[in-house]
């Protein structure tokens, strides 16, 4: 009598993505490029912060580039391109996150060794990007004061897999009665020990500290080679 055949595979569902990401991370380290994956909900200020960041890093003589994921439009890519640095767009056509293979495809033709920091602006979403490793060295979760303090508790997976949290639009904190202590406590609940920066891109508050944190991370990356 024939029995059903059971294949005990015990593998990661996202194995292919993980492998692609690991290979890319290796390439990035070899080339000395720090890769920063920026995640947040829509409208939390990713593009504004990145435009400012690219502009400032370029002014300091650094070689930076960006890949922008967006559902349908290239509005964000065009905004980032105003900084004068190389920007490439990934239109996901409805897909709510970026995958490693999409980023790999967009790298074609870029001399990675000539780039010092590459930013990946993920699709605005606090759930879907969580499980997709893009080969980054630094995952940065943005949380704007206008979103409320409980976002880390509602989306613990994303905050937990991040390396750095940036609270944005802090110039509006008083107007929206943002409870900073509570927000910091909530981040601590889901990702104990994660460093948190606070910025207001509009008036420049905290942007220097953010830039310094990126540069310090790149130094660490170079030392690790």
């Amino acid at each position: 009598m024939s029995q059903p055949r059971i294949l005990e595979v015990r593998t990661k569902i996202l194995k292919v993505n993980d492998e692609t990401a690991r290979a890319m991370r290796h390439r990035f380290v070899e080339a000395g490029v720090l890769v920063v994956n920026v995640v947040s909900s829509p409208g939390s200020g990713k593009t504004a912060l990145l435009e400012e960041t690219l502009t400032r890093l370029k002014a300091r003589g650094m070689s930076v580039a960006a890949i922008v994921g967006d559902l349908e439009t290239d509005n964000d890519a065009r905004r980032l391109a105003r900084s004068g640095v190389p920007v490439r767009q990934i239109e996901t056509h409805g897909l709510c996150h970026l995958e490693a293979a999409m980023v790999e495809e967009r790298l074609a033709g870029w001399d990675l060794a000539a780039i010092e920091i590459l930013f990946i602006e993920n699709v605005g979403n606090l759930v879907c990007p969580t499980s997709w490793d893009l080969g980054e060295h630094l995952r940065v979760a943005l949380l704007s004061v206008t979103e409320g303090e409980d976002k880390p508790l509602k989306y613990p997976g994303l905050f937990n897999t991040s390396d750095l949290a940036v609270i944005t639009k802090v110039d509006l904190a008083a107007a929206v009665e943002f409870d900073r202590t509570l927000a910091l406590a909530n981040i601590e609940q889901v990702r104990p020990g994660m460093p948190v920066l606070e910025v207001a891109t509009k008036n420049g508050a905290g942007v220097d500290a953010w830039i310094e944190a990126l540069l310090a991370r790149r130094v660490t990356l170079l030392k690790s080679r």
Binding site: I6, I13, L14, E99, T130, L153, E188, Q189, G193
Partner: protein, 132 residues
């Protein structure tokens, strides 16, 4: 709705393993999904049903093992299961711990394939003759 992407990756992985095992219809697929993995079970099931249509795993049973979040509590010096995923605080002492021991799983555990077809009649009679 990244569950559709996840379902498609499940289908890709299963197809590879089924082909390596000599093919056949898939009766069941067992997944281990951690509560910290941001995957919603209902959405994953309907995505799988949609995306598997017309493949050898269409209609397969999706067995989902739900894995609760477990942390190592340094204060209790013990592994603790958490009631949810909203906080990583130890349910006994309240200490927050980032040492997650389980709950992030997005794993393909096993695949059940239909039985191999029974030996053909000719073989059966040959075997019978041989045994006689």
């Amino acid at each position: 709705m990244h569950e559709l992407s996840i379902a498609m990756k499940v289908i890709d992985e299963v197809a590879k393993h089924v082909a390596a095992a000599g093919g056949g219809r898939v009766l069941a697929i067992t997944l281990r999904i951690g509560r910290f993995s941001c995957v919603q079970e209902g959405a994953l099931r309907s995505s799988f049903a949609l995306a598997s249509a017309g493949t050898e795993m269409s209609g397969a049973r999706l067995e989902i093992i739900d894995v609760p979040v477990r942390i190592w509590c340094p204060a209790c010096e013990a592994e603790r299961e958490l009631p949810g995923a909203q906080s990583l605080a130890c349910p006994e002492c309240g200490r927050v711990s980032g040492d997650i021991r389980a709950g992030r799983e997005l794993d393909l555990e096993s695949i059940e394939l239909e039985p191999l077809p029974p030996p053909s009649i000719e073989q059966t009679s040959t075997e019978r003759i041989a045994s006689e």
